[in-house]
């Protein structure tokens, strides 16, 4: 489903960037470097190379500034540059995606033969309102995301951490809306599973 275009929160920074305002650049770096690093990590073997890819992408971004026509949002464009650089630099992607993307999202053993819950979800959602517990949960999710297959991690990072729309995610990763939903579904399901196993109570 295509969402209506929203004003790009980064657009005002573009003019400042072009005019040579270093602070505008640092604002963008602060805002997007963490996500870029997480995305790059899905493609390359170690953190140092991921950092290099991110730097390289920022340089590509700056060099492309004069050609950027604002048909997409700044972050969509930036993330697309990053993904392209990471794919060129990396080899891990193909190894880690395909196989682990297959399978039901909830362990079949938790249902009876009629498909009804045998072991329903253990409750934990009330903990989200507790600030300390919520911090622990966010940390658990951050760690669990590392174990997701690269494609799932990308989609979850862009949608649920970064808050991109589904249309933006499809643009960045060059995948279909249907594919995006499948990856999102699997990724979220795994993160839920991890939260349940760590915080759920019988």
């Amino acid at each position: 489903m295509l969402q209506a275009a929203q004003p790009d929160p980064d657009a005002p920074l573009l003019d400042r960037l072009r005019a040579g305002d270093e602070r505008a650049f640092m604002i963008l770096v602060e805002r997007y470097r963490p996500t870029m690093l997480r995305l790059a990590a899905g493609y390359v073997p170690n953190h140092a190379i991921a950092e290099e890819v991110v730097q390289d992408a920022w340089l590509g971004f700056l060099h492309g500034l004069s050609r950027f026509e604002e048909r997409s949002s700044v972050r969509t464009w930036l993330f697309r540059i990053l993904i392209n650089r990471a794919r060129t630099a990396g080899v891990r992607e193909r190894r880690t995606t395909a196989i682990s993307d297959i399978g039901a999202t909830v362990d079949a053993a938790r249902f009876d033969s009629g498909g009804n819950w045998l072991a329903p979800p253990q409750p934990w959602t009330e903990l989200v309102d507790d600030r300390l517990a919520a911090e622990k949960m966010a940390e658990a999710v951050r760690l669990a995301m590392v174990d997701l297959p690269a494609r799932q991690r990308e989609v979850v990072t862009l949608r649920d951490v970064e808050g991109l729309t589904s249309a933006e995610v499809c643009g960045v990763l060059e995948i279909s809306e249907a594919n995006q939903r499948v990856l999102l579904h699997r990724g979220r399901s795994r993160l839920r599973e991890r939260l349940e196993s760590e915080f759920g109570r019988a």
Partner: protein
């Protein structure tokens, strides 16, 4: 493309959990959405499951990465200045 639900009168839990994302994304057909909501109305486990997926999304939104170290800040500032310098010196197309 819509997820096809086998034609039967009611959903079972194992099918319902696979529809959660399409439900949240608003991509279920009206008929499937009605069946999904009807199932939720009488199934505590699936209601809890949906609540947990929503909570998972909320928790994921709180994931933040480490702040920039001063060293990195310096590096990025240098990167920007280098670019600016190249450009002002007449960057080749």
């Amino acid at each position: 493309m819509r997820l096809r639900v086998p034609v039967r009168r009611t959903l079972v839990c194992q099918q319902a959990v696979e529809l959660v994302t399409d439900y949240l994304e608003g991509t279920l057909s009206r008929a499937d959405r009605r069946r999904f909501e009807k199932h939720l109305g009488k199934c505590h486990g699936c209601t809890e499951y949906l609540a947990q997926i929503r909570a998972t999304i909320a928790v994921t939104g709180r994931v933040t990465a480490d702040d920039l170290t001063d060293e990195m800040r310096t590096e990025f500032a240098a990167l920007y200045r280098r670019w600016q310098h190249d450009r002002d010196a007449g960057e080749r197309p």
